[in-house]
Symmetry: C2
Subunit: 414 residues, 2 copies
């Protein structure tokens, strides 16, 4: 007997028929002798419907009231799911996040789980019931409802897996698993059987949408294996787990791209201590998250032959914050002494990821060569231990993905 | 400064525009210097929509899961109402029933409030906020969500008025107040300024739909005055309160009718001790509530001149239970010794109500004369201290209401 957490996303419970289908899947696991806890998202479209109602009343709705409103979405899902199970003769009880003992901080709309008291769920499991828990939500110390932000149901599932010492945490979604790259972009994309937490984190940060970063971090911290599977197929999915020797043999395991960023360059800023900090603190104060940062020194000489150290300072921000960031820079660029401020929202970021990169030389070279062969120019490069990202012209994004997928032979199983 | 409970029903919050309207109303009361607690029903149609989803999954859904599902309706209302208030610059917080401290027994779907801990609401009122509470719902000792049954939001409002020692409990609805009779049946129907708890209870029991019986009982037990008003008009409404001398001067204050009952008669049952009890216990065991009961003794003589005491035994049951009751009676009537079993689902009950009836003779006579004058036959009569009900042929129901309204001059203010 194993203890299993099964999380079904919004598209897997989008209709009553789909709810019936996934109810059967949970019951099948129970009938195999397992203890089953089901975590659900709101039915697809419901959260957006509720946000629409709120926005029609208030253009900047209070996060506390939004959480009260949005929490109804998952509550509806779990009650309907429980009824579907009961119609199939199964013993089951549904729970809101707070009833399942999920405590969070008070950061409405993006709360973090601080503690879980799973005693009620344990009682129900011991009675032979399936416990169905509303994902995405919890309760703060004031007794107010909170939500964990988009993708929060994954976090709920992993956190419950930790609290209940579950044997496995299954994340059911509308894709077969984690792919070497986006199959819509590259038809040679291959589903991976296993991927390490670190690789998944990089892929998720870099644009892969299957898993939320927070839930992967949580799983990594507590060594909970996440099994990503298709909700309505029996294919074997992808296991997100500790890295192993096989993974390390392969230098690159995934390619990802994002077109949701913009680049801003301050030309010829005086190269003095604290300039970069001044620029970046201004941006972070506005609540904008900077991704890549690059600084290039140059030296200029004035008519008297006086030497001045200058620097070109570039960074990327989310595309939605591009306009606001440009305004900020234009307002302060002069004060900082920048000669010119350039903006470019016509960029893409292409990245390769793999834990094996640590042990393989020449990965960057191969990447740059593959892109150069397609005539693709690199305007920024950023690296970490297990990834390399390049900023390129947006129109080349998909070509670059395919070129890198081929260059690193990702269509071939490791 | 007064402490005011305002309850708005589903039709008063049916759309976002209506929610904005009633939000303004609550804010107006606050701006007059009062402490305001708002209790809301689900948006009109929402509860039925949720019931429809549940029924599509399970033909007899578990009451516990239904409560989890239905509780989302009021939760949505209160969050949207709070956002509407905030858009108007008002300080406000919304609460689920359990957050407002409303504790109930475990009778899902028709739970009774057992206790209220209003400390959270008091805190918010003290901070100058409007507190918006989801009606119709609470929490049981297991921590499960419960609902109070249809009309439960009225009960929530009155119970909060008691717990918070409110000065007034305003029930906003889609009518102007309590009428002497149904204005759709009798165009001379007159809105009453005041009505006693007892009269309201009788009217509600007898078919008037404005107020739920339980909430009126609760208000009576704790002497909380209920002010029934139109949500979208400034008319003065009706006060439900202790009876006073003015009310007692008038023998009859309201006329009501119901066509939701059926009559069953067991002819010539042997008149032995315990027969009535046997018949009625059989019915109550089936969960059917008997309303009127009438027994008529007769004596028959057999061919040997032997005298037998017999009785005709009639009672009424809700129309929805008519078929089931007839089956029960047919299955056991013979055993009991009934000669014949008659059923009639073509009946109406017409009633007159008034606390003044206690002190006025001849009220029944005037009622029967008024009906006789219209050629209406009475098949059953039942009386209490402050009401007289008659069962008549269904087709005469509305005519009877108008005749009685005229006979007792209810169009004239007391």
């Amino acid at each position: 007997m194993a203890r299993i957490i099964q999380k079904y996303g919004g598209s897997s419970v989008a209709t009553l028929d789909l709810i019936k289908n996934v109810a059967k899947r949970a019951i099948a696991a129970k009938n195999e002798g397992h203890e089953v806890v089901v975590v659900l998202s709101a039915m697809k479209g419901e959260t957006d419907r509720l946000i629409g109602l709120a926005k029609a009343l208030h253009n900047s709705p209070s996060p506390r009231e939004m959480d009260n409103l949005l929490a109804t979405g998952e509550q509806t899902s779990v009650a309907l799911f429980a009824l579907a199970c009961q119609a199939l003769g199964e013993k089951v009880k549904s729970f809101c996040g707070w009833q399942a003992g999920i405590k969070t901080d008070e950061d409405h709309g993006r709360a973090r789980i601080t503690d879980i008291n799973p005693s009620r769920l344990k009682t129900e499991l011991a009675k032979g019931r399936i416990a169905v828990v509303a994902g995405f939500q919890g309760i703060d110390r004031l007794g107010d409802l909170t939500t964990l932000g988009r993708g929060g149901s994954d976090t709920t599932a992993v956190a419950l897996a930790v609290a209940l010492k579950a044997d496995t945490c299954e994340i059911y979604t509308d894709v077969d698993g984690i792919y070497t790259t986006d199959p819509h972009v590259c038809d040679k994309a291959r589903k991976m059987d296993r991927i390490s937490y670190e690789e998944m984190l990089e892929l998720a940060s870099l644009g892969a949408k299957v898993m939320e970063i927070r839930s992967v971090e949580l799983a990594m911290n507590y060594s909970v294996a996440i099994h990503v599977r298709h909700a309505h197929s029996l294919s074997s999915g992808t296991l997100i787990c500790e890295e192993d020797a096989d993974m390390e043999k392969t230098p690159v395991r995934g390619v990802t791209h994002s077109v949701n960023e913009a680049r801003i360059t301050l030309l010829k800023v005086p190269d003095q201590p604290g300039v970069a900090a001044r620029i970046l603190s201004l941006i972070s104060k506005a609540g904008i998250v900077v991704d890549m940062i690059i600084q290039n020194k140059s030296v200029s000489h004035d008519s008297n032959g006086q030497e001045t150290h200058l620097t070109d300072f570039s960074f990327t921000v989310p595309l939605v914050d591009y306009g606001k960031t440009m305004e900020l820079m234009q307002a302060t660029g002069q004060e900082i002494g920048a000669e010119k401020i350039l903006g470019d929202d016509n960029i893409a970021k292409v990245s390769i990821v793999g834990v094996g990169m640590r042990n393989h030389a020449g990965v960057a070279t191969l990447m740059f060569q593959a892109l150069a062969k397609e005539g693709i120019n690199l305007s920024m490069i950023s690296t970490s231990e297990i990834k390399i990202s390049c900023v390129i012209e947006k129109k080349y994004a998909e070509l670059a993905v395919r070129a890198l997928h081929d260059a690193f032979k990702l269509d071939q199983s490791a």
